[in-house]
């Protein structure tokens, strides 16, 4: 839509390393726009960053809409900043499927109290991202954005997903720890977080715990977690036996040797329970690092991301196929002359031949 001169990748990387916020902001935009220069800049940045890339902790915060994720992130920022950590935040909100536009409002709740003036001290970088059609709860390049923040020296990277409900599990591939935020609600509590979502939480938070039904919600979560845990352990193939799809590889499964996910109560509005959450995250992080499971988790995440990029690329090739092959095949399927699986084979062969007509 807009033409803007491509910046030089090496120059951007150097300026990010020098702590220039504007360069980092431009890099994140370039990554969001899938610009080639930004990919090169990220690679250069990560290679020249003196930091051990595992020095940063990536914490995902996810859960249904309205449960208080942004407010909880705000309080986490306060605690981590209070310890002198530099904090990067990626807050993802949905794009409108109709206009492609978005209103990104998480930032409102992440600015601390008016007296703190926290966002202007250089130790906090908040970036709002639009999901841009991606359905997994993150935008296409959120993991690259997180790595950019990591390489830029932010020791804590908090990633808040789109409000989720059913199957938005991308965050499990990106984050070292996933905090799943829920709240007390009337009726069938567990209904608000379904299979798949339950499996990605490392720490469960019942927020707004000053409301009626908080303890019931905690009990229900605990018993649901015990059930899914024993199902995992009893499964003959073990936890590795998960379905995997090219475009949506399964998130790294939690090993049964992990500690059971904890269920905590918070009232993010007042900050109650947030210090305990930070303690739990600290302990979990120490264990992840010391046991070598951090590497394993990140390796799986990296593979899943590469695979997802590959799937995007194959779909891109498909769109670039000349001659309306896809449309012709679709017509044939509708007329009953061809099966969808056969059409997929024809399209795949055509891509492999470099776009020649089938």
């Amino acid at each position: 839509m807009l033409a803007r001169a491509d910046p030089d990748s090496g120059d951007i990387a150097a300026r990010v390393l020098a702590g220039e916020e504007r360069a980092l902001a431009r890099l994140l935009s370039g990554l969001e726009d899938q610009s080639p220069w930004a990919g090169a800049a990220l690679a250069a940045l990560r290679r020249s960053s003196a930091r051990d890339s595992r020095a940063a902790r990536i914490v995902g915060v996810t859960g249904p809409p309205g449960t208080g994720k942004s407010t909880l992130v705000d309080k986490l920022i306060g605690i981590y900043r209070g310890r002198g950590e530099r904090v990067g935040v990626l807050a993802v909100d949905p794009s409108s499927p109709f206009s492609g536009g978005a209103i990104l409002g998480d930032r409102i709740r992440m600015q601390g109290s008016p007296r703190e003036a926290r966002a202007v001290d250089g130790g906090l970088f908040i970036r709002s991202l639009a999901s841009r059609g991606r359905l997994g709860g993150l935008s296409r390049s959120t993991s690259r954005a997180a790595r950019a923040l990591e390489a830029a020296g932010f020791g804590i990277v908090l990633v808040e997903t789109v409000g989720i409900g059913q199957s938005e599990v991308d965050i499990a591939r990106l984050a070292d720890s996933v905090v799943l935020v829920t709240m007390p609600s009337a009726g069938d509590e567990i209904q608000t977080i379904k299979a798949g979502i339950m499996e990605i939480g490392d720490v469960f938070v019942v927020n707004k715990a000053d409301r009626e039904g908080a303890d019931r919600m905690v009990r229900q979560l605990r018993s649901a977690l015990e059930l899914s845990r024993s199902a995992l352990e009893l499964s003959p193939a073990g936890p590795e036996a998960r379905p995997s799809y090219a475009a949506h590889p399964a998130p790294p499964p939690r090993s049964p040797a992990d500690d059971s996910p904890l269920v905590l109560k918070t009232v993010a509005e007042t900050g109650e329970g947030v210090a305990e959450l930070v303690e739990v995250l600290d302990a979990r992080w120490a264990k992840l690092r010391d046991s070598g499971r951090l590497e394993e988790r990140r390796r799986r995440g990296a593979l899943a991301e590469a695979r997802s990029l590959l799937a995007d690329r194959v779909l891109g090739e498909l769109e670039a196929l000349e001659g309306g092959l896809e449309e012709r095949l679709a017509d044939e399927i509708v007329r009953g002359e061809l099966e969808a699986a056969e059409a997929a084979t024809l399209l795949f062969d055509s891509i492999r031949r470099g776009g020649a007509r089938a």
Binding site: M1, L2, L28, S96, A102, I103, L104, Q111
Partner: protein
């Protein structure tokens, strides 16, 4: 690559009326833009910091308290200090006609008063945001 226009809609100063800002935010979204809304009572420093971190093309300021003569120029001044004078700054709210020339001389590129059709704002942004 396809790049979205990103707009920061901000309310500097102390008035608590953000209906206008929200209407503008929605219409910009419906025009396909990505709008970061930062809420009420933002200091110029916070607004400029957000504009830079969010890498926006446009800062749209709304004010009804009458402090525009101080706060709007403060935002453009801080943007310039950060080397971000290429970000388009526009204003809205209750702004007397007589104040507009001064605001424009301070780098506020357009002022949209009450009753401005939202399409006018959308068109102005589209026409004035260029490659940077």
């Amino acid at each position: 690559m396809d790049r979205k226009i990103r707009v920061l809609v901000a309310k500097p100063g102390l008035d608590g009326h953000d209906r206008g800002a929200k209407v503008v935010a929605r219409s910009l979204r419906d025009a396909g833009m990505e709008v970061i809304y930062t809420g009420l009572r933002q200091s110029p420093e916070q607004i400029v910091q957000a504009a830079i971190q969010e890498d926006v093309d446009v800062v749209a300021l709304s004010i009804l308290s009458g402090a525009h003569m101080h706060l709007f120029p403060r935002v453009t001044e801080l943007l310039a200090q950060k080397g971000a004078e290429d970000i388009l700054v526009i204003g809205g709210g209750v702004i007397p006609e007589d104040d507009i020339p001064y605001l424009k001389s301070k780098g506020v590129r357009a002022v949209f008063g009450p009753g401005t059709p939202t399409q006018t704002t959308v068109d102005f942004i589209r026409a004035n945001v260029t490659g940077r």
